[in-house]
Amino acid sequence: MTGHVVPRKIYLTIVIVLLTLTGLTYWAATIDLGPMNVVIALVIATCKATLVVLFFMHARYSPRRTRVVIISGIFWLALLLGLTLSDYLTRSLAGRV
């Protein structure tokens, strides 16, 4: 027994979208959008990663347990980054010690 069979058309669509998004992120980087440049780049990258996870890695067709594992990983990465940043970003609030 193998896993869910995804139609080839979907793979083809996804790869075209991914390449388009890559072009989009390159183009967006050539325009000065101030602080939004980073945000847009990360949003596009997140979209691309999501598509890979959902369709190429079959997360969309996987049992709930797999999705819990994926969400936990993302949450823990966010925890590492976020809670550490809570130190760095609030240091200037305290003034010099």
């Binding site: 347990r65 130190d87 970003l89």
Partner: protein, 564 residues
């Protein structure tokens, strides 16, 4: 608890995992989780003795205020190597790799773990990392403290930092692969009828521990890798002269190393949760709460790491958040303690050796845990950070808690593992000696720390000598408490009484296999129809106990569950 008469010498012993195959290759190339557990037992015991030796040298050196045993530089190496060896090569693997490996498949009704070859590989990876660490020791040691704070470790220390860091990095994969194996096994290989809420708490505890293995260990791996890269290739992340930040190292280091302490205590709590119901012949009180508390400790334990950095220069607002979260993580631990005590209440308690260790665990863990709350308080921590107060706190949990539970677990499951009983009277005496020696060693250290004696110092003011001498005296008694079991466990393998299938008796699936079990654990996959720790309603085990004690003021006693 009765032991059956030893079988006559003429009948050959039945086939079990110990005698199924002979020869060193059958051990070194085994994929049987039970044999791998014993391989780990040998490795971690070696490192326990090594780490204990370093501790002994430290305590002897600290008998006098000026300290004449070793030079200051050597002293720094002693406490560093003591920490590295004990934490990474003994405590973190101990219960999961020895007892977890041995018991989890049996407890869930499976023939082995999900990935037996990966299990064996994990042991070899442990040994490879251990070799690097031993090389670092022989090459002159490391003097950075087990915490490897930068920029001293990444730039200025002249000792074998890179080999030690690489050794810990490699051994980290043991944790990751073991955690992976446990999670997948528990999710996918439970026997029919073994639902999540029929699992022994030992399994829940190891599941929670595995979550920490999986999510935390990779971070220490990359951190130590970066330290090694900084030493070898001058990367600069932690070097202020290059614009790097030493505090970044501390964040990365403690993100793992705080949850690591829950790696060390959760399996111990799992052991205690098996011993207490069994040796009080009473179901575990509040099973769902104990299971949930295990998961809560694992999760919340990841939110508190910067309480190790209150005085390091982090933002005070951040410190406030971490202090609050540190108070919250104590709650599930307390829930467990209350549930254990409630289990004991009105139980039919037998003071066998495992129960002595479990009772000792409860008392000492409470002391260690409460003093942790003192440290979580920002104002107090400013005063006692980096003093012997901290050392006493974590030794109460790690030794008074984790090691005592490990000893209790070894005794509790020794009959299953070896097919022999350990000598009960000697074992009880050893347990008491251990308890006395432990308290004499570490309670004075609370006082020392409160009075201001800093940790990691090779000398101290003369007025602290009394407590230091008490502590060293205690350490010598503690050592006796460890040596005795080593002797009688080995003795028991040849001369101990032959153990029955279920000596205590316990209600878990592991007690339904012969002692020692056959290689495949079960002849056919068991089907589970009973609830865990049901000491009142297991006629198949000879357990139709008294009616459960009725809650106070509830009127006539409830009839036994058999009526359903």
């Amino acid at each position: 608890m009765s032991s059956q008469a030893a079988s006559p010498a003429s009948t050959p012993p039945p086939l079990n995992y110990l005698n199924a195959h002979y020869g060193i290759r059958s051990w070194l190339l085994t994929t049987d989780h039970k044999r791998i557990a014993l391989l780990y037992l040998a490795s971690v015991t070696f490192f326990f003795i090594l780490g204990g030796t370093f501790a002994g040298l430290i305590r002897i050196h600290l008998l006098t205020p000026r300290g004449y045993l070793v030079t200051p530089e050597t002293y720094n190496k002693l406490f560093t190597m003591h920490g590295i060896v004990m934490i990474f090569f003994f405590l973190i693997p101990s219960i999961p790799a020895v007892l977890g490996n041995f018991l989890i498949p049996m407890m869930i009704g499976a023939k082995d773990l999900a990935f037996p070859k990966l299990n064996l590989l994990s042991w070899y990876i442990y040994n490879l990392g251990a070799l690097f660490a031993l090389f670092a020791i022989i090459n002159g040691g490391v003097d950075t403290g087990w915490t490897f704070y930068t920029p001293f470790s990444s730039l200025y220390s002249n000792t074998s930092v890179a080999p030690a860091a690489i050794g810990i990095f490699i051994t980290g994969f043991t944790s990751i692969l073991t955690g992976l194996n446990f999670v997948v096994t528990i999710h996918t290989m439970r026997a029919p009828g073994m639902t999540w809420f029929r699992l022994p708490i030992f399994v829940w505890a190891h599941y929670a521990t595995s979550v920490i293995f999986i999510l935390g260990t990779p971070v220490i791996a990359i951190t130590l890798l970066l330290v090694a890269l900084e030493r070898l290739f001058h990367f600069g992340f932690f070097n202020p002269a290059l614009g790097g930040d030493p505090i970044l190292f501390q964040h990365l280091f403690w993100f793992y190393s705080h949850p690591a302490v829950y790696i060390m205590i959760l399996p111990a709590m799992g052991v205690v949760s098996e011993i207490i119901p069994t040796l009080s012949r009473k179901p575990l009180f509040g099973y769902p709460f104990v299971a949930a508390a295990s998961m809560a400790i694992a999760v919340i334990g990841f939110f508190v790491w910067a309480h190790h950095m209150f005085v390091a220069g982090q933002s005070p607002y951040s410190a406030l958040v971490f202090s609050l979260l540190s108070y919250m993580v104590a709650i599930p631990s307390a829930v467990k303690v209350f549930n254990w005590v409630a289990t004991l209440y009105k139980g039919s308690i037998s003071y066998d050796t495992p129960m002595l260790y479990a009772l000792g665990f409860i008392g000492l863990f409470v002391v260690g845990g409460l003093t942790g709350l003192f440290l979580a308080c920002l104002g107090v921590d400013v005063h006692v950070h980096d003093t012997y107060f901290v050392i006493a706190h974590f030794h109460y949990i790690m030794v008074g808690g984790a090691v005592m539970a490990y000893m209790g677990g070894l005794h509790f499951w020794w009959p299953k593992i070896t097919g022999r009983m350990y000598p009960e009277s000697v074992a009880r005496v050893a347990a008491v000696i251990l308890f006395v020696g432990f308290n004499l060693t570490f309670f004075p250290q609370f006082i020392l720390g409160y009075l201001g004696m800093p940790r990691r110092y090779h000398n101290y003011p003369p007025e602290f000598q009394v407590f230091n001498v008490m502590s060293t005296a205690g350490a010598s008694i503690l050592a006796v408490g460890y040596i005795l079991p080593m002797i009688y466990f080995i003795w028991s393998m040849r001369y101990g009484a032959v153990a029955p299938r279920n000596p205590w008796p316990g209600t878990g699936l592991e007690w339904q296999t012969p002692s020692p079990p056959p290689t495949e654990n079960f002849e056919k996959t068991p089907v589970v129809t009973w609830e865990p720790y049901d000491f009142y309603n297991r006629p198949d085990l000879g357990l139709t106990g008294p009616e459960p004690p009725s809650p106070p003021g509830s009127g006539p006693a409830l009839s036994p569950a058999g009526d359903d």
